[in-house]
């Protein structure tokens, strides 16, 4: 299956849930598209960085988030890489998590694609099994397509 919205498109492998959403903007607020993909069900009410979801990851599960920071961020120092990085197992660190969870590991990278700044964040359920789980994350990223234009709301 392939899902497309807000200038993002992804074909998650079999067994993956995926969503591309845009939070409703409050007064004076600008929201940007977020893509989530995981080997576990995506719960309603989860955070952009997977809070409420990463707690459910088992040792064989993977979570991938792609957060759009808009054209303003594109090309700035933090977002200097001009292509989405492929993930390698050694990028995953037990402390690179929004909230440390024993056994898990995460990775965060920033880049620019199609004139939009992005943050890529991924969590694997088992640091020990990061080799295999990283390959699964790359399966999702390999199917990702980004169109120009932010699609931000607000």
């Amino acid at each position: 299956m392939r899902i497309t919205s807000h200038g993002l498109s992804v074909s998650p492998p079999p067994g993956w849930d995926a969503a591309i959403y845009l939070r409703p903007a409050g007064p004076g607020e600008v929201t940007r598209p977020v893509l989530h993909a995981a080997t576990v069900p995506l719960p309603t009410g989860r955070g952009d960085y997977g809070s409420g979801l990463v707690e459910t990851l088992s040792a064989t599960d993977v979570f991938v988030a792609l957060l759009d920071f808009g054209p303003e961020a594109a090309g700035t120092a933090l977002f200097a890489p001009d292509a989405m990085p492929g993930l390698t197992p050694d990028m995953y660190r037990p402390k690179a998590l929004q909230r440390i969870i024993a056994g898990q590991a995460g990775v965060q990278r920033f880049f620019t694609a199609s004139g939009r700044g992005f943050c890529l964040y991924s969590v694997v359920g088992s640091y020990a099994a990061r080799q295999a789980l990283c390959a699964r994350a790359n399966q999702v990223l390999g199917s990702l397509q980004v169109a120009a234009g932010s699609g931000g709301g607000g």
Binding site: R2, S58, A128
Partner: protein
């Protein structure tokens, strides 16, 4: 006078045959329904008005094989893209096909609006409606509430060959197939229907639910477990040799052939 008596007798006899025939037909219908598991007794727990149809996978033109189970890809009522896998996963999924217009669906919507109801077998509940060309997203959002994921997609509706609404399809994720489907007018009737399928063992529990993540890799994934064990053994041996993480000897700039043991070869 005699002629009138004869006519009356004949009429009574004919009416008698008619009544006997009707009673016999009724008895046959009751027996047939009973054999299908339908209880028409108004005092029964389910009641005669909410009789679920026995849940069984049915071959359909669009889905002739029980393993032809499309994933649920579409949009949410708020317009976001959603893709939900129902096969190749460790859990079962109960897909509820509903419409915003059918009066029978109202009772189901009412339950979903309260929260996530309990589903026999612990299956994940997902609602599917037709796409926005056939359903009002605002109406669906108002009916569904915030608790249960909703996928709006006419393609999914067509792919499952849904005959009417409400309609329920129970998919075993580990087995990757539909194990039962049918209709029910109330949530309780649907639960009874699904419970039968679960009790029959049709939901293939090939993989038990995963335990929470632990520092040590779980034993269920033997290959990764073997990798972790090997990794730990190598770490122990290196540490015993005085080689710790970050040691430059782990990343030699050149590879030389080792000398004989005990000669102090420069290969470490």
């Amino acid at each position: 006078m005699v002629a009138i008596d004869v006519v009356v007798l004949v009429a009574v006899a004919l009416l008698g045959f008619l009544v006997v025939g009707l009673l016999r037909s009724n008895a046959e219908l009751t027996r047939a329904l009973h054999s299908l598991g339908v209880d028409l007794d108004p005092d029964s727990p389910t009641g005669a008005g909410a009789v679920p149809v026995a849940i069984q996978a049915r071959p359909t033109p669009a889905r002739p094989d029980a393993t032809a189970v499309p994933d649920l890809a579409g949009v949410s009522p708020s317009g976001d893209a959603v893709g939900i896998a129902v096969t190749g996963v460790r859990h079962d999924t109960l897909v509820a096909f509903l419409t915003s217009g059918c009066s029978t669906c109202r009772a189901i919507w009412g339950v979903l609006e309260q929260g996530i109801p309990e589903v026999p077998g612990g299956a994940r509940l997902v609602v599917v409606t037709r796409g926005s060309e056939a359903e009002s997203p605002a109406a669906v959002a108002g009916l569904a509430g915030p608790h249960v994921p909703v996928v709006m997609s006419t393609d999914v509706w067509t792919g499952y060959d849904v005959p009417y609404a409400p309609y329920f399809v129970y998919v075993s994720g580990p087995a990757g197939r539909v194990v039962g489907e049918g209709t029910a007018a109330t949530w309780e009737a649907m639960c009874a229907m699904v419970a039968n399928a679960v009790a029959d063992g049709t939901t293939n529990p090939l993989a038990p639910p995963d335990p929470p993540a632990r520092p040590n890799i779980d034993q269920r994934w033997s290959k990764a477990g073997a990798d972790a064990e090997r990794e730990q053994r190598i770490d122990r041996e290196l540490a015993a040799a005085g080689i710790l993480p970050g040691d430059p000897r782990l990343r030699p700039t050149a590879i030389t052939h080792p000398g004989p043991v005990g000669t102090g070869g420069a290969d470490r």
